[in-house]
Symmetry: C2
């Protein structure tokens, strides 16, 4: 391994001078800079991160914490996409990113502990938000820089987080359905303790209310995320005497399941049933019909969270922020107009 000393020796200067050249210190003569740089290149010198981190007390690395992978939620294309978003920033800033790998909450907690106490990373991004989360609490207690993608379950104004306006997104997409003439609109969401679900549902309710459509509890269903593709939910809806004509589903991958079940039971989308969804991951354009869905800009969610985190690590008393990524409906073929 080529060290700073080797370069120094080769150039006939002292190690500290080389160090200064690396840092591009202004009070090193252009001449020696050139010489040193050449030697570095010739010898194939590369700084050793660990040595550097040790004295700098910073790692230029951020930890990304995935939700516990008990369920299959990790197969949601959402994740690779946020990772790419995060990566786009870390790469540009020459940071590296470390992924959590635990399966259970306990395991993940231990990892985060290691990351924090062991100075593995300068900060972490939480890719989930759970009620009463030990990890969040721990991060707050230790005053370690972190940001949440999504909405914190608590301390909302003290935790930097990047999110969509899910209430509005839910309202917008529901309103669209209403504009298309639908009135009997159902809602299929994920677990009720997830803020995404709650907020999108509230948006759905608001749109219905504003349109003067009375609420129908039988139209509001919740299903374990990904559990057999929302089959039960769909069956329940279709067993109703007065069936809905449209459904709002809170996730594209879930929509795929809903779509399948619907068609399997003989209900053709969008003719017999309209369907709208959220996220706009790749598969929403290759399903049949292609899904009309809310583009939440997953990539941006990742990128902005990384950016905010890095700022936090650079300046510990940067105030907590709430960053809202705008959404946009992308219209495809899963909705039909109802003529009155």
């Amino acid at each position: 391994m080529v060290t700073i000393k080797d370069v120094a020796k080769a150039t006939g200067v002292s190690p500290s001078t080389v160090s200064r050249v690396i840092a591009d210190n202004p009070r090193i003569s252009p001449d020696t800079k050139k010489k040193v740089r050449k030697a570095m290149k010739d010898l194939g010198y590369h700084p050793n991160v660990n040595a550097r981190n040790l004295v700098a007390k910073s790692t230029k690395a951020i930890g990304v914490i995935l939700p516990s992978s008990a369920d299959k939620s990790l197969q949601n294309p959402f994740f690779p996409e946020v990772l790419r978003g995060i990566g786009s920033i870390t790469h540009k800033m020459q940071y590296s990113m470390t992924l959590s790998s635990g399966d259970t909450e306990e395991e993940i907690f231990n990892e985060v502990e290691r990351m924090v106490y062991g100075s593995y990373v300068d900060g972490v991004i939480l890719l989930y938000s759970r009620v009463n989360d030990r990890i969040t609490d721990f991060l707050i207690e230790t005053n370690f820089p972190f940001v949440i993608v999504g909405k914190p379950y608590d301390n909302v104004s003290n935790i930097t987080h990047v999110d969509n306006d899910n209430f509005k997104a839910g309202k917008d997409i529901t309103s669209y359905l209403i504009e298309q003439g639908h009135e009997r609109i159902a809602f299929i969401g994920g677990a009720k303790d997830l803020f995404v679900t709650v907020d999108r549902e509230a948006g759905y309710e608001a749109a219905m209310r504003e349109a003067g459509i009375s609420e129908n509890p039988a139209y509001k269903l919740h299903t374990e995320f990904l559990k057999s593709g929302g089959r039960e939910a769909v069956e329940k809806l279709l067993s109703l005497d007065v069936k809905p004509t449209g459904v709002v589903v809170t996730d594209d991958l879930m929509s795929l399941g809903v779509l399948s079940t619907l068609e399997e039971l003989g209900f053709h989308v969008p003719f017999d049933m309209s369907l709208v969804s959220f996220n706009n991951v790749y598969l929403s354009e290759i399903t049949r019909p292609a899904l009309t869905t809310v583009d939440v800009q997953i990539h941006q969610l990742g990128a902005q969270s990384a950016k905010a985190l890095i700022e936090l690590t650079l300046n510990k008393d940067e105030p907590a922020k709430r960053i809202i990524i705008p959404h946009q409906i992308v219209y495809r073929d899963s909705v039909s107009k109802i003529e009155k």
Copy 2:
């Protein structure tokens, strides 16, 4: 930050003793061990990785290199799943994993360079395999430990890699179609410079040959991975005078596109057309019909590669290995029997 010295002072021993306690050195008296451990706990001591890495010349971290994300291939649920597989091992071995984040090949190359020269990681896993890959060449030249998930384009016997027997997988699944009475079987694969495609295709051909079915070039198609869901390929097949009765598609996500196009054009799977696929990612069970597909055990691909890599890093002259993960067909509803 609590250091080893603090613990030493608090216990009245020397720093090296504390260090030995951490390493659980056998020739430290149980008594002092206990004392020291208590102090560590009381003070909240956690070893600093960077300091440790610096002297150990090992980082207990591995780098995972994703393919350049120019295309959307990263949205393939394949990736989260390998990551989980890798993570299951790194976690167990207390390793951490660093993800590449570059977009272009150039960017990724630079990252790998940093990882290698900067001692960021002890080894890397390549999640792709390209022809004439600079990164692979670089890793070989620098004699840096690495393993490939998939088949190396060159030096096959000198590079540790973990893969499926894609030839056999292709053959098995095609044979299954033949057993079900199909004779006009088409093949839709990804880019021809990917070994997965090539091998699975060779398997398909072998099965056809052995069954005495003459080859039909018009039945063999290649499509940009994920490009508009293989629409063109399907259209081409359906424009043929003698249409196939079955299709072998090399990836579940592609199958989703194929399926959609097929149905959209009025061909119902499996009645008008049978469809088999590869990978067995979650969505293959929620499509309609659910896909009969080859389970390639993605999780195992990841886990075994991590295991092999860690062995490599621990023992640099561990011989190169070729690890084949067995596959298995999972039968679902996308194939129908043809009575003669």
